[in-house]
């Protein structure tokens, strides 16, 4: 899509995008490189090395069963960032479709909006927990339930963007030309609202990571042997007072990633619609 008018220096001048994308890039890079840094995987236990403070052997120390914290955190990032990315994509696709048709057709709008309101009135974590209780925990189910919880947010943003786009007279011009509804929706409205949807999705990516971590922390998310930032903290909590690093370092990992994503989202909003930054 020709974005001719997004001049490069406007992007470079926008500090938030730069820092945000660097942070996100680093996290993704480490996630991909993990199998090379720790080829033996996250489950290696050296029982003699239990609860060791951060040292040269174990940069970030070890957990209650002697597994290296840095290794588990890196493998954990594959889960957490993976879940976040998957939720982001799913919510974007479904949110966009629902929002597009809800914004364009009044009938669809009433039904969809009532459902979104109802989904919204059930607190997100409870809804996620309830869904997980049905489907059983596991990465796939976590992704599905968190996506269900956040799709209404994207749908609401997409719908609002469609309603404003529809007021523009170039849509009326297309109708006067006899253009079909799908051509108007997908070739004219969708590309124009993509920017506000992408901004919302970057925030949902961050919130999804937080929700996954909270779910795992409540013991309903990713099942324990498989490392995820949430369940690492969940396990660390029991021995928190002897081994503070089991709680502090995962927190830093989560905070940095989510902070980077939020920065990226803010920067994109400045770039795409500067007036309401």
């Amino acid at each position: 899509m020709k974005m001719g008018y997004l001049r490069v220096q406007r992007i470079l001048k926008n500090r938030r995008i730069i820092i945000g994308s660097i942070l996100v890039f680093l996290i993704i890079l480490f996630t991909l490189l993990t199998p090379f840094i720790f080829p033996e995987g996250p489950h290696v236990m050296e029982v003699t090395e239990r609860l060791k403070a951060p040292s040269k052997a174990h940069f970030l120390g070890t957990d209650s069963v002697g597994r290296d914290l840095l290794c588990r955190l890196l493998y954990g990032s594959r889960v957490s960032v993976g879940v976040g990315a998957a939720v982001a994509v799913i919510t974007m696709v479904f949110g966009l479709i629902i929002g597009l048709y809800a914004g364009y057709y009044k009938a669809v709008d009433n039904i969809v909006m009532r459902i979104c309101d109802s989904l919204k009135s059930i607190p997100s974590i409870l809804l996620a927990i309830a869904l997980l209780a049905i489907m059983g925990s596991g990465i796939g189910n976590v992704i599905i339930s968190v996506s269900i919880v956040y799709t209404p947010d994207v749908a609401r943003i997409a719908r609002a963007a469609v309603l404003t786009a529809r007021e523009q007279t170039y849509i009326e011009a297309l109708e006067a030309l006899g253009a079909g509804a799908n051509r108007i929706l997908w070739l004219n409205i969708a590309p124009n609202i993509l920017s506000s949807v992408i901004i919302q999705v970057s925030f949902i990516f961050a919130t999804a990571i937080v929700t996954e971590a909270s779910l795992s922390f409540l013991g309903v998310g990713v099942p324990v042997p498989e490392p995820s930032w949430g369940n690492i903290v969940y396990e660390g909590r029991a021995v928190m007072f002897q081994a503070w690093w089991l709680v502090v370092y995962p927190s830093i990992f989560i905070a940095v990633t989510v902070f980077g994503l939020n920065l990226l989202g803010d920067g994109l909003r400045d770039l795409f619609d500067p007036q309401n930054s």
Binding site: S118, P123, I125, L126, A130, A213, M240, N262
Partner: protein, 316 residues
């Protein structure tokens, strides 16, 4: 005004029904038979049948739904399989801690959020503005269970300013009650404080460069009066919306804080009920929370209409 409230209540009825259908279907679309799951695999067939009978699971689904719904209107929310108190009592006892926690967290979030947001907008671009923007950005980046654990480590464990965990009900004195709830409320409210701060700042900024502020200035109104008499009231509308949304998500957040500081709140009840498949309780609690949220949305709308004459008078 009354017609407006009536109209709002009308629109809530379909939402209530859809919510109840969602909750009901979540519980009853469980793969496998809830009764067998509760009694465990080696349960005797007759026991399973008896339990099914007790829970009314053998009737067709729509009938069960109708019975459940009519039960609600009659105030009978079904009984818990593990706690032998009437459902309303179970919910009420678990509700009290969550309510005081949420209100306390909301006070912190709204209080800090609005004041910092206004100051940041008033001195746009100054150091205060940059600090507030940074705090609000970090605020939304750190999940509340991390904030909780860090607070626990810093303020409770190493410095003993606050109790590490636990809960003291109101009956044992306001001071202790609040003292125990401070860390949970702080951790719960921190993320929402950041959200309110961001929204307040952007909505005050938007109002400050509107035409009626320029007209007020052209009338000779002082900058202070512009902020207090003109800007704040207009900026209040979007702020109320975000506070309303915050209140709804606080109830969700409470689940995590209650788990960390083991406060016997509604969130704790749900998590344990889900653990032991106590469906009736899950259904009742989630429905009550949804009702509270809808009620809060109604209050929000009424507050909105009270402030904005265009809504109040339009619906004459």
């Amino acid at each position: 005004m009354k017609k407006y409230i009536f109209k709002r209540i009308l629109t809530m009825i379909p939402v209530f029904f859809i919510t109840s259908i969602i909750i009901f279907s979540i519980i009853h679309l469980t793969p496998g038979d809830p009764a067998r799951v509760i009694l465990g695999d080696n349960a005797v067939e007759s026991e399973v049948l008896a339990l099914q009978e007790k829970m009314g699971l053998n009737k067709p689904l729509p009938l069960q739904y109708v019975n459940w719904l009519t039960g609600i209107f009659k105030g009978n929310l079904g009984e818990s399989l593990f706690i032998d108190q009437p459902m309303t009592e179970i919910i009420w006892t678990h509700m009290k801690p969550t309510v005081s926690l949420t209100i306390y967290a909301l006070l912190i979030a709204a209080g800090m959020g609005i004041t910092c947001g206004i100051l940041a907008a008033r001195y746009k671009g100054g150091i205060l503005d940059r600090i507030v923007t940074l705090i609000s950005l970090c605020g939304i980046s750190v999940p509340n269970f991390i904030v909780a654990l860090l607070l626990m480590l810093l303020l409770a464990f190493s410095v003993h300013l606050f109790p590490v965990a636990g809960y003291k009900p109101m009956s044992e004195g306001i001071g202790i009650h609040v003292w125990y709830l401070t860390l949970p409320a702080l951790s719960l409210g921190f993320i929402h404080m950041a959200l309110i701060m961001r929204m307040t700042r952007s909505s005050v900024l938007e109002v400050l460069n509107s035409d009626y502020i320029k007209m007020a200035r052209a009338k000779g109104v002082s900058e202070f009066a512009i902020m207090t008499k003109h800007a704040l009231k207009n900026a209040l509308l979007p702020i109320i919306t975000v506070i309303g949304q915050t209140a709804v998500t606080l109830l969700a957040g409470a689940v995590v804080s209650e788990a960390i500081f083991n406060i016997p709140g509604i969130g704790q009840l749900v998590v344990t009920s889900i653990g032991r498949r106590d469906y009736m309780v899950i259904q009742a609690v989630v429905l009550v929370i949804a009702l509270i949220n809808m009620f809060m949305m109604l209050i929000l709308d009424i507050l909105y209409a009270a402030i904005d004459p265009r809504i109040r008078l339009d619906s004459r």
